[in-house]
Assembly symmetry: C2
Homo-oligomer: 210 residues x 2
């Protein structure tokens, strides 16, 4: 019997990083248990979860007696550990490097978009305030990078689908689903990515009322 | 003749992410050219660099006709592309996953330490203000994580040296070199890591006056 897998995520199912790992496990056709952690009630600071996650963050994946946090480290681990299902990263070294670049960039830059268009916009409903000037500047950079990386008429960034498509589509959908202006080619890409069954499994999770 | 390597870094040589890639290239015994980018003069937004880096960030590595940004993506690429020299990541899958977790965490959390103890503390001289309450809390988390990951009497996190040792030692040295209180075992670890010749090559770079 294989080691069981358990994924700890935020109880609202709005963390883009939790979503990325959830989608990865689905793409790999792995059975796993889902454990919501109520961050509002500080459950992530309680001794049990704190020992598992080390850094008190979600997502955390527990695989047998090994627990791991940080979503990009988790998706790399899943891809290396399980051969079944869909590959999460491109096989070609430079495409794989580019996917890692994009994952790291989306997690460390574009703060104005992440703040003014939290993922509640996607999973609960639109925000009312227009984008600030700095958020507009961040959006411009996001569009330039996405336009440069996404080939014309391509469904995915790197030929075959990869986990970087999920992360980029999520970032674009912070704007698309709020009704902010997004270049049509990028909005169409984000829409198509959103229809992927593994993504729709996350979207369909039953969320607590706000 | 192999494709040439060029590394773009900040002109003050204070970026911890530029340092991580610089050290990686040294550990791999690779010849490369170093190109300082004056961020204060907005050289990273000029057309030439902007096209190379895509996201207008340092570090950026150019390898032949391929250019790549985001330090952790770059060190992964270097490790996969060049077999020579010292391995940058642990070979054992779970240790490698832990190294990636640590890299991702050090780049996305601990913001109060990164703000109140910028790397100018290390490369130019100590800061005068004491740590705020939130920075103390961040330091406490940092120490807990480092204590949990570093085995007793160990020189490195994962047996053999890895690039994660550089990143953790840099984060600890923001505090150690400023005279802030750090548990002795962790301060000794950071001191030893700092003596590594590849790290000392970065420390010894001639910096512009402030
Ligand atoms: Ca995380
Ligand atoms: Ca519901
Ligand atoms: Ca970078
Ligand atoms: Ca000098």
């Amino acid at each position: 019997m294989p080691d069981p897998l358990r994924l700890y995520v935020d109880a609202q199912f709005t963390s883009p990083y939790a979503m990325s790992v959830f989608v990865a496990l689905h793409e790999k056709q792995l059975d796993f248990d889902l454990s919501p952690v109520d961050l509002g009630a500080l459950e992530h600071r309680a001794a049990g979860f704190s020992q598992l996650s080390l850094t008190q963050r979600v997502p955390t994946l527990v695989h047998g007696n090994f627990s791991l946090s940080e979503s990009s480290a988790i998706t790399e681990y899943i891809d290396e550990t399980f051969a079944q299902g869909t590959a999460l990263y491109p096989a070609e070294p430079r495409a794989r490097a580019r996917a890692r670049q994009l994952q790291a960039w989306l997690r460390s830059d574009l703060m104005p978009i992440r703040q003014e268009r939290s993922t509640e916009v996607i999973f609960y409903g639109p925000a009312s305030a227009p984008l600030s000037a700095v958020a507009h500047q961040s959006a411009k950079t996001l569009f330039q990078v996405a336009q440069a990386l996404l080939p014309d008429d391509a469904e995915n960034l790197f030929g075959e689908w990869s986990i970087a498509d999920v992360d980029l589509a999520l970032m674009l959908n912070r704007l698309v689903m709020n009704g902010d202006a997004v270049p049509q080619r990028l909005a169409s890409y984000a829409d198509r990515q959103w229809q992927r069954p593994s993504v729709q499994s996350w979207v369909a999770l039953e969320r607590p009322l706000r």
